[in-house]
């Protein structure tokens, strides 16, 4: 049943056929308004916000028929010129657009706000943004963008947006006493504070706040994401998910679903090949066990797959799902990792064809240990021994774009999968055996992605659309709803962590043992590697001659944990930084001084790293040399952070217990953060560059920009090498048919690994360009040619333009295609460092914690783009804040998630954000491209322990489990009688 509505759409009267149940968002997208994005069906993400009669409104919660007669504006209304509208330009200039998935909504909100108020106060800007959830920016740069847009619309002049360059406070090596009277720099919080290093060479493009290469399409809302294509005859898939946490499927009766007109296929374990795999997007060979199949006769968590259908419409697919009759034998379930490993717990993988489970009966999928020195003996002889156990909980990545995949057979009957993935090449390889095709018969396309954060480092739904497309020979689309995204995609591993540390009288660490039980849910996926990274990060920050890691990874019946930005480090560093803080207090030491005494410094060995992980070495004998810290800016980070947060206040009783607010206690907290940069000997990136007629270059990269700005950073690196502008590099990522291999976007690897590949490929092209330029200019030695300002310069000052050289080499003489291809795998993993500071207030009568300010000072080597790098830190800190403070999966006794909507699952919004400041402390990392190390994950590491330690500073009470929600804090305060 459909009716016709008439709306004024972007100024034009428009008649649209709609059905009563359809949302305005659905109808607008069908009308070609691709800027309107799906984030949920209930309005809370704001990704589908449009202007209705000039007011910002979530069009996914509005019935299309309700909109009949109204005036509707989408961001397409602003796209009347090739140039960007001033509001769009402001968002682009300030780096406010990361993935751009919700950019249209923010730009429209700005338009409506500025019509009402041409000079809005910050509160009004944040209120406007309050309905648009952003998982990427921390709202810092969007607020700046609105301010800038207001100025542009008023006709006021604006300055170029870029970093505030600060003088260093230290000599780069030694700690300094920060003068409390020395005020922190005064600038907009959106402006990155950049502390340069003298050993970083001058560059033309690298290190500059260049505008993102994909900014235009994102700001205009042009069709660029997975769902933004239209394929004739496309079918819609839905998945039947298990209502039980643990059950055997006794029977599936699909006859009624199959018989429903418009249903093209129904697949489940009875008609789908049983091929074992592990879904984590990792290098070949994926860590065992292979404990999954596309459809099983057993379900192991609420939300596990039972069946899938493809039908002419989503509604028909949903109806068909309801018609599938499944008979379950419900089994006992277990959710806690410690309970799961006790004798008598339900056995989650009792099937014979899953092999390589460490202890099937106890649900222990992996057990591993690593040791340096002799920890037992060292603990026995230590002057002081401390032990503490921490529990960290389950949260989710929550990309605003949920998982979505579309598959079809192309004219050659090869399978094409257009999908929101961080790992297109792994997906191609992992998909092949499941569908009985060779890798060469599969093409995976990664268009723009609306955030991933690890959730999309997984072959999650691609096999379902592939099975259905092959079966129906029609295109098939599957998009998870917000609710499904919560319990049927991936999450962060809960863990129970116990640190035992032996300390000498002089404060030096003598022994440190980390025992970890990780909860990987019912499937291994990233279970081995995430827990390995926990061990690696938990035992790498501090020098200690005796270290030991003991780890069990447990199967349980919770929704599946997987990769989540930080990948085991946030859990480990919460425990470690809390434990080290407590030791400092016990020993009567200042926490920073105590940590500083022990943390790794320039030249120190990272002596546990080679013994943990996928390429772990069991023997010390095979290693003649351990990796070492080759660059660190931590002392500068600490000094800048202390000044920013006002660290001297932490010992001031009048500040901590303000007389005029008797129930409030204030505190400051610190965490030392060290992360990694890529996985040595494993992560590999490739790049290919070719010269075009006009002196521009096409650059093809397998690296996967998820909205992080990776394409831009790689383009800047190539432009620097080739002496051209960033706009002369046309970056394309990624398509398994066209772009070189790349392991994908994970492990903080893209800038360092793929960036080096881009640099090497550009250098190959540059070598040939110099040779040809030397010929054209009559210069004997090509190495004397310099490339800059889009020209090739001879030593005597004569030059030929890149365009002239391109035309000459492509068309005129000794014709050739100048191109460079290279790949890179690193033997090194240079650690970025950071100092995380927070200021909090605790209401001791209610337990409510308010985070007032967060400052992170990061040494990420040379930030290739300080604006996008600071955006990574701002967004990462806010995700980390959610982890520490308010996000959690809540379940009923049967394992059903109670809060599978945003709101009940609480992520921070723009009108409640703490103040944030980001400092980029440069160091020159010689192993990285132009000195770069990683920045993507380290912002996830320090917020939780810093808040925990700030609560200790405020109240004296230490809380060892997350998140710091009001009742948990109140109970802890009550127990301590505060």
């Amino acid at each position: 049943m459909s009716e016709t509505i008439t709306i004024t759409l972007n100024g034009e009267p428009t008649s649209l056929a709609v059905a009563p149940h359809e949302s305005l968002a659905t109808v607008l997208r069908r009308a070609g308004m691709f800027s309107v994005k799906y984030g949920s069906a209930t309005g809370e993400t704001g990704a589908a916000a449009v202007l209705i009669d000039g007011a910002l409104a979530s069009s996914d919660v509005v019935l299309a028929m309700w909109a009949d007669g109204h005036d509707v504006t989408t961001v397409e209304a602003l796209n009347t010129e090739p140039a960007l509208h001033p509001i769009q330009a402001a968002f682009v200039a300030t780096g406010a657009i990361q993935s751009g998935y919700s950019a249209g909504a923010m730009i429209l909100g700005t338009l409506a706000l500025l019509r009402r108020d041409p000079d809005p106060a910050e509160d009004a800007i944040r209120d406007m943004l309050s309905g648009i959830l952003d998982r990427e920016s921390g709202y810092v740069k969007p607020v700046e963008a609105v301010r800038r847009a207001a100025a542009l619309m008023r006709g006021d002049g604006v300055d170029a947006f870029g970093p505030l360059v600060l003088p260093p406070m230290t000599d780069g090596t030694h700690a300094v006493e920060v003068d409390p009277a020395d005020p922190p720099p005064d600038a907009s919080p959106a402006v990155p504070r950049l502390v340069p290093s003298v050993d970083v060479p001058d560059t033309a493009v690298v290190g500059k706040p260049e505008v993102k290469v994909d900014a235009l399409k994102l700001a205009k809302g042009n069709p660029a994401f997975t769902d933004d294509i239209e394929l004739r005859g496309m079918l819609y898939a839905k998945v039947l998910h298990s209502p039980h946490a643990h059950a055997r499927i006794l029977e599936i009766d699909d006859r009624a679903a199959v018989a429903l007109p418009g249903v093209h296929a129904v697949i489940h374990h009875k008609n789908t090949p049983r091929v074992k795999y592990a879904s984590g997007g990792q290098s070949w060979p994926n860590p065992h066990p292979y404990d999954q199949v596309s459809f099983d006769d057993k379900v192991r968590h609420v939300g596990d797959r039972v069946a899938a259908v493809a039908a002419d419409s989503i509604e028909l697919a949903e109806e068909a799902i309801r018609l599938i009759d499944v008979t379950y034998d419900v089994l006992p379930a277990v959710f806690d990792e410690l309970e799961a490993t006790k004798p008598g717990a339900p056995v989650i993988h009792d099937e014979e064809d899953t092999t390589e489970i460490f202890d099937r009966e106890r649900n222990i999928v992996h057990h591993f240990e690593a040791e340096r020195g002799d920890v037992a003996a060292a603990l026995a002889e230590a002057d002081h021994v401390f032990e503490r156990t921490f529990r960290v909980h389950q949260v989710q990545q929550v990309p605003i774009e949920p998982h979505i995949s579309i598959a079809w057979l192309d004219a050659d009957e090869r399978l094409v999968v257009r999908t929101a993935t961080q790992v297109p090449f792994h997906t191609r390889r992992m998909l092949a055996p499941l569908i009985g095709m060779d890798v060469k018969q599969i093409r995976v396309i990664k268009p723009r992605i609306g955030g991933g954060f690890g959730a999309k480092q997984e072959m999650l739904i691609e096999d379902i659309v592939a099975h259905l497309a092959i079966k129906t020979r029609l295109p098939v689309r599957l998009e998870l709803t917000r609710e499904e995204e919560f319990w049927a995609s991936r999450t962060r591993h809960p863990q129970t962590i116990t640190f035992t540390t032996g300390v000498n009288d002089d404060g030096s660490l003598h022994a440190q043992r980390m025992r970890l039980v990780g909860n990987t849910g019912p499937y291994g996926t990233h279970g081995y590697t995430v827990q390995a990274v926990s061990g690696l990060r938990g035992l790498s920050s501090y020098n200690c001659p005796n270290k030991r890691f003991e780890c069990d990874v447990a199967y349980t019946n919770i929704p599946v944990p997987g990769a989540y930005r930080g990948y085991g480090a946030p859990q480990a560093l919460f425990a470690l930084e809390a434990h080290m803080e407590d030791i400092a207090h016990e020993l009567g030491r200042d926490p920073i001084d105590f940590k500083r005494q022990n943390w790794v410094k320039l030249g120190d060995e990272l002596n546990i790293a080679p013994h943990i992980g996928e390429r772990a070495s069991d023997s010390e004998l095979v290693l003649d040399e351990y990796p070492r810290v080759m660059s660190t800016g931590i002392e500068e980070c600490v000094a800048q952070g202390q000044r920013s947060i006002g660290w001297h206040r932490r010992l001031d009783p009048d500040w901590r217990a303000p007389a005029d607010r008797p129930t409030i206690r204030r505190g400051l907290g610190f965490a030392f953060c060290m992360h990694g940069t890529a996985i040595p000997f494993l992560d590999m990136g490739g790049c290919s560059i070719k010269l075009n007629d006009d002196g521009s270059f096409n650059m093809l990269v397998g690296a996967t920009d998820l909205g992080t700005g990776a394409d831009t950073v790689l383009g800047q690196i190539a432009a620097e090498v080739l002496g051209v502008r960033l706009e002369d590099i046309i970056v394309y990522s990624s398509d398994t048919d066209m772009t070189p291999f790349d392991t994908g976007a994970y492990a903080s690897s893209t800038t360092y690994i793929s960036g080096t590949a881009a640099k090497l490929a550009a250098e190959v092209a540059r070598k040939r360009i110099k040779e040809r330029a030397a010929e054209m200019l009559g210069v004997d030695e090509p190495c004397t040619i310099e490339l800059r300002d889009r020209r090739c310069w001879a030593p005597d000052g004569r030059s030929v333009s890149m365009e002239e050289l391109a035309l000459h080499t492509l068309h005129w003489e000794d014709q050739e295609q100048i191109m460079g291809t290279a790949s890179f795998v690193s033997p090194d993993c240079p650690p970025p460092f950071a100092a995380q500071f927070v200021e909090i207030e605790v209401d001791v009568d209610t337990g409510q914690v308010e985070v007032v300010k967060m400052t992170m000072a990061v040494d990420c080597g040379v930030a290739i783009n300080p604006v996008t790098a600071s955006g990574q830190v701002e967004g990462g800190m806010v995700q980390a804040l959610g982890y520490a403070h308010c996000e959690e999966f809540a379940f009923d006794a049967d394992g059903r998630m109670l809060n599978d909507q945003l709101g009940p699952y609480k992520i921070y919004r723009a009108d409640e954000m703490p103040a944030t400041e980001v400092f980029l402390v440069q160091t020159m990392e010689d192993s990285g491209p132009f000195g770069a190390k990683a920045v993507a994950e380290i912002p996830k590491d320090g917020v939780a322990p810093a808040i925990r330690n700030a609560i200790v500073n405020a109240t004296g009470v230490a809380i060892d489990d997350l998140p710091f929600t009001p009742e948990r804090v109140w109970q802890a305060l009550r127990r301590a009688d505060v």
Binding site: M1, E3, P20, H21, A41, T42, G43, E44, G46, A49, I52, A55, L56, A57, S58, V61, V62, L63, M65, W66, D68, A105, G109, D127, M128, L129, S130, G131, I132, D843, D845, T846, G847, Q848, E850, H885, C886, E888, A890, L898, N899, Q901, G903, K906, Y908, R909, D911, E912, P963, T965, P966, E967, W970, Q971
Partner: protein, 238 residues
């Protein structure tokens, strides 16, 4: 989520009432709660936007709020008491506030609604299409009958307000909130998060509450918060 199988936009209240006489139909203002209420049965919706119920009227010592007035208009209207404006803003974020309505908020009767608490302490009375005026607190306690149609709510204009709340984050829907108003020497306090939004008169009454607990707050914790937050509001209004 309900399966929506029909849509009606009546032009008069009598047409709306005739449509709603059928139990399968539901009135909607903006429709924001329609997809949240967990029902699965097919329903037809009766959209009230054409009934002209979106006025905010000055009635001397009272203000009348039309049922289809959006929360954004409430938040922006200088005629509306500050406490109600402030909590209309807090009730929903920007993208929902422009669609959600006063009538829909009353009809949904969310136990966590701070806007309902503000209306309650402003002595709200709900006018139904049949002309009856029912105290909002009675509506929240007993619910509406099928076929009842809210056309407006009337609130007292005067008074000074105070709010104390506890949530996971500053803009979180409070776990418990106390909302108070002082007018003509009389102090009224209402609570959210303790079961239906309700007026409370003091500790003895709070001690008798048995709020349903959930992952955000157990029964005992909610009762504790109710006491603490009640006291804060009372202190602020004293």
């Amino acid at each position: 989520m309900h399966q929506i199988v029909g849509y009606h936009r009546p032009a008069t209240i009598s047409d709306a009432l005739a449509l709603l006489g059928d139990g399968h139909r539901r009135p909607i203002g903006g429709g924001t709660t329609l997809r949240h209420d967990g029902g699965a049965a097919p329903v037809e919706v009766v959209d009230l936007q054409a009934l002209g119920l979106d006025a905010i009227g000055d009635e001397g010592d009272h203000v009348r709020l039309g049922a289809t007035t959006t929360l954004q208009r409430l938040a922006d209207a200088t005629l509306v008491p500050d406490l109600v404006r402030r909590l209309a803003r807090a009730e929903q974020p920007s993208t929902m506030r422009t669609i959600a309505t006063v009538g829909g908020t009353i009809g949904a009767a969310d136990p966590d609604s701070v806007l309902l608490a503000a209306l309650v302490v402003h002595g709200a009375s709900v006018r139904l299409a049949d002309g009856r005026d029912v105290a909002l607190s009675a509506v929240l306690e007993r619910g509406l009958s099928a076929g009842d149609l809210i056309v407006s709510a009337s609130i007292a204009a005067a008074g000074r307000g105070a709010v104390a709340s506890t949530g996971r984050t500053p803009a979180d829907t409070p776990i418990v909130a106390a909302v108070g108003r002082l007018a003509d020497g009389e102090r009224v306090v209402a609570l959210t998060g303790v079961g239906a939004v309700r007026r409370v008169s003091g500790h003895a009454e709070i001690d008798q509450l048995d709020p349903p607990g959930d992952f955000r707050g157990s029964t005992a914790y909610r009762r504790h918060l109710a006491t603490v937050l009640y006291d804060r509001v009372v202190a602020e209004l004293s």
